[in-house]
Amino acid sequence: MTPDPRATGAQRYSVDADMPGQLHAALVRSTVAHGVVRSIDTSAVPPGTAVLVAQDVADLPLYGCQIADQRVLAGDRVRFAGDVVAAVAAPTAAEARAAAQAVLVDIDELPGVFDALEATREDAPLLHESLSVSDNEAAYFGIRPVRGTNICHRFRIRHGDVDAGFAGAAVVVEGTFRTPSAAHAPMEPHATVGRFTDDGRLEIVTGTQTPFNLRMELAALFGMDEEDVRVVVPPMGGSFGAKTFTRIEAIVAALARKTGRPIKLVLDRTEEFVTLNRHPSIVQVRLGATAQGDLVAKAVTCWADTGAYADCGPGVAQKMGFAAPGPYRLPHCSVDAYAVYTNTPPNGAYRGYGAMQSIWASERTMDMLAAKLGMSPLDLRRRNLLRDGDIYPTGETMHDTCFAELLERAATAVDYEADPTGKGLSLIMKGMQTPSRAAIAVEREGEDGYVVRCATTEIGQGSRRTLQLLAAEQLGCRPEQIRVPDPDTDRVPFDTRTTSSRSTAMMGRALVVACAALLEDGRRGYGEISEPGGLDPDTGQGIASSHWHQAAAAAEVSVDEETGVVRLARVHCPVYAGRVVNAPGADLQNEGAMFMGLGTALFEAIDFSQGQVTNANLSDYNIPTAEDVGACTHELVEREGAPIHGLGETALPPVPPAIGNALASLGIELYDLPMTSERVLAAIDRRAAGPVDAALEARES
C-alpha cells in the first residue's frame, strides 16, 4: 500500500491551491454587533491595493442557501461583530492584511439581541426587515419565515392529541435545556482561490462540502448559467460542517471580478470563530407516562439561534425538531421548532446537525422521568424503545431498527444492572439528509485502472478510501487500481452534498449500480440513487429520513465533590452500521465523533460578551486532547444482509446525555451544556439544598 499522503506531508489542501498571477485578499470586519455604517475611509490604503466596498457589489442580489438575507458585503447595516464590510487585495497576504487594517470604518451602534428567546420578543431589535426564501436546492423543505419577526423558520410536528395524552399521564416531568455555540475547529481554515477566465467563466477552488449548492449560489449571484461556474474541491484538513454553502467564495469572486486577477483568501484562526459556528439552543421538554412507565405524551419547543444570517439554520431547526421525539413509542407528540436571528456570527451545519441539541434535552428528560417513576432508566428505555413496524410521530414506519441491541450493549459495557450509581445511558436516532440524490460515473483508465468521478468531497473522513474499497469489491480489483480525483463540477455528476453521514450510504449504493453498468458496458458505467421524502412543515408528517442513524452510549463517572471535576471511568458507544465498508475508517469516524461529543459535554463553548467572541483562539477555546479521551470506547454493530448505515456523526450526540445522566444518578442534575466543573459544583450545591421538582426552577446563572 502506498503511504497516506496526509502522513507524508505530500497532501495538497485548499490552502495550498494557487492560481498564476493571483492577488491575496484580506477582510475588513465590523467591530460592533449591530450598527449602521456611516462611512468607510480607504484613503490610507497603500496605492496598488484593490479595495472592494459595498458599491462594488450593489448590483449583486441577496443570497443565502435557505433564506436570501445576505449581501456579499454588509453594506450600510452590520448585524454581527465580524460582519464583512470591505475586502482588499494585494500582491502578498501580509500586504493585504496591512491594507485591511488601514481601512477605517465608522459605525453607529444599534441595540443588539444575543439570545434566541429574547429575539422572539416583540420589542427585540429586528435583524432583517424582509425575509424571502431562496431558490437554492438547499431550500427544499417548505421554509416558513415569520415576517416582521426574527424567526426565519418554524417547524411543527402534530401527532395524536397531546393535551389528551398529558391528561391521561400519571407522571409528568419537564425541563428547559440549553446548549452553547461551539467551534468546528478544523485544522485547516477556510481557503478559496478563484478567477474569471478570459471566456467569462468563474473558476473556484475551495474547501467545501457542498460543491453543487455553491455552484448554484454563485451562478445566481453573478447572473451566470450554472455550467459557467466551475467548483473544484481539493481534500480538506477537516470541516465538521464549517465548510458548507457559500462562505468566502462570493467575496473572492467579487474581488476577482473587480480586479480581473485571480484572488486567494485564507482566513486566520480568529476569523474562523466569526465565520460559522454551532447553533446555541434552548429546548423545553414536557414528557408524560403512565404509572407503569409507558410514555403517553411529549411536547417539545426548540429555539435554534442561527445568528445574524440564516445560512442553513432553518434546516438545523427542523432537524432539531424531528429528532425531538427520540427513539421511543409516543402516542401523542407535538414539536415546535424555531430558527431565530440574533446579533451573533452565523451558525450552521455542525456534526450532528441539530440532533445533538434536542437529544441532550430529551435523553436527560428520560432519566428525570425514570427517577420520578421510581424506575430504572434502563427499564424505562427498554419498555418504550422503537422496534420495526412502530410509527414515528412523523408518520414513518420504522424499519431496520437496532435500538434494543444497542441499549443492551451500552448497559453491559458499564455493568449497569449490577449497580447504576455513577452511570448513565442514552439512546439516540438522527436522520440523514432526505430527500437526497447521488450520482457517480466509473470509467476504465489505462491498462488495468479505473477512475471514479463523483462530487463526494474528502473532508478527512476517508471517503476516497471508502469509494476505492467499494469499487474494488465490485470490479474485482485492488483498491489501488481505482483513482478518485478531486470533485470538479465540470466533470462529476450532481450530488446533494457531503453532509449528514450520507456519502457511504448514498454514493456507495450509486457506485454499486455504476460498477454493474461498467461490467456490462466494458468501458464505463453510471449510477444514480435517489431517496424521496421530506416533511410537511406545518404538521411534520412525511419522511424525515430514508434511514435512521442509531446509537447508544453508556458513561461511568466519578466526581470530585469539592471542585466539581468529573472523571470519566468509561464512555462506550455502540453504533449501528448495518454493514461496515471501511473498518479502520469507520473506527476513526466513531472515535472522532465521540471525542467531539466529549468536548461538547464537558467544556467546549464559544464565550460571548454582548455579541463579541471573547475566546477566539485555541488556547481560550478548548478542544479535547489525547489525555482527555482515554475512557472512550466504541463498537460497530453489523447485521447480516443489512444496508449500509451512515456513521460519520452518530457517536457524537449520545455522549453528552450519557455523562449527564451518570451525574444525575449521583443526584447532580445538569440542564445546560457544557457540564463544566463550575456548573457541576453548582448542581452539587443545589442537591444539598434539597430536591427541586422542575428544572425550570433550577436555572443557573
Binding site: G599, T614, N617, D620, T676, S677
Partner: protein, 273 residues
Amino acid sequence: MRWHAPADLEEALLLRAVHGDEITVHAGGTFLGILMNQGLIAPPALLSLGRVAELRGVTIVDGWLRLGAMVTHLEIERHPQIRSGWPLLARAFSVVASRRVRAVATVGGVLADADYASDPPAAMSALGAQAVLRGPRGDRSVSMEQLILGYYTTCIEPDELLVEVRVPPAPAHGVYRKFLSRSSEDRPCVTVAAVRGDGGLAVVVGAVAERPQRFDDLCGLDADGLGDARQRRELAEAYAARLEPISDVRGSAAYRRRICAVEVRRALEALAA
C-alpha cells in the same frame, strides 16, 4: 519586520540597548506567536535569543540552581539534578501545556511574559527564586514579587534582558498542584505552590489574579509550620478570603475562590503527610 539573531549575549544586549522598546525579545515564541497571530501585537523587529549559547546552561553553584533564560520547560522537567533537588520545580514545568510547547518554551520567556495563566511563576515565587536582569547599568537580581508587576507587566527595563534565574536550595518539602477546569492541556484555573523548610511555610496561589498571590503573614501556624487539620483548613480558607480572583473562561471569581480553599488545603495536607 526585521529578525535579529545575535550569536552571543553581548550582541543581544547591544541590540536591546540600541533598540529598546522597538525590538521584541523572542525566546521560545510560544506566547509571542499567539499574540502576533491574533494581531494583538505587531512588533517592527524581533530579537531572537535562539543562537545565544550563554543562555542555555543549567548549573548548580553553592547549592543554588542557575537556569539560563533559554533553558526549556522540557529540560527542567527532565534534568536529573533538578528532579532530585527541586522536584517542585520539575513538576510545575512538566504540567505546562503539551510536550510540543514544553520543548520550545523557555524559563526566561515564561517569567518575562508574566502571563497570569501559567504554572512556573507561582512555583518560582514559592521557592524564592531570583531573576537576573542585565543591561547597560550592569546586573540586578530581583525576586518574583519584584519582577512581575501585573498582567503581562514586569520590572524589566527596555534595555535589559532577563538572562538567568537563580533558585535557592529547595526547602525539605514542597508541593505543586495544578487545578484544571477544562482539557488536560489547558492553562491552569488555579495553581498552588507550597513549601516548608527552615524558613517556615510559603504558599503561593497562581493563575487567579494579575500576579502570583502570597500572604506570608497568614502562614504562621505552629512551630512545625503546618498545624493540625483544622488549622490547615482555616489557613486555606483565609487564603481564599484574602484573594481577589478574576473571572475568565476557566472559571468565575466565586468558583476560583472556592477552588482556592480546596486546593490550598490539599497542598497543605500533602505537605503534612
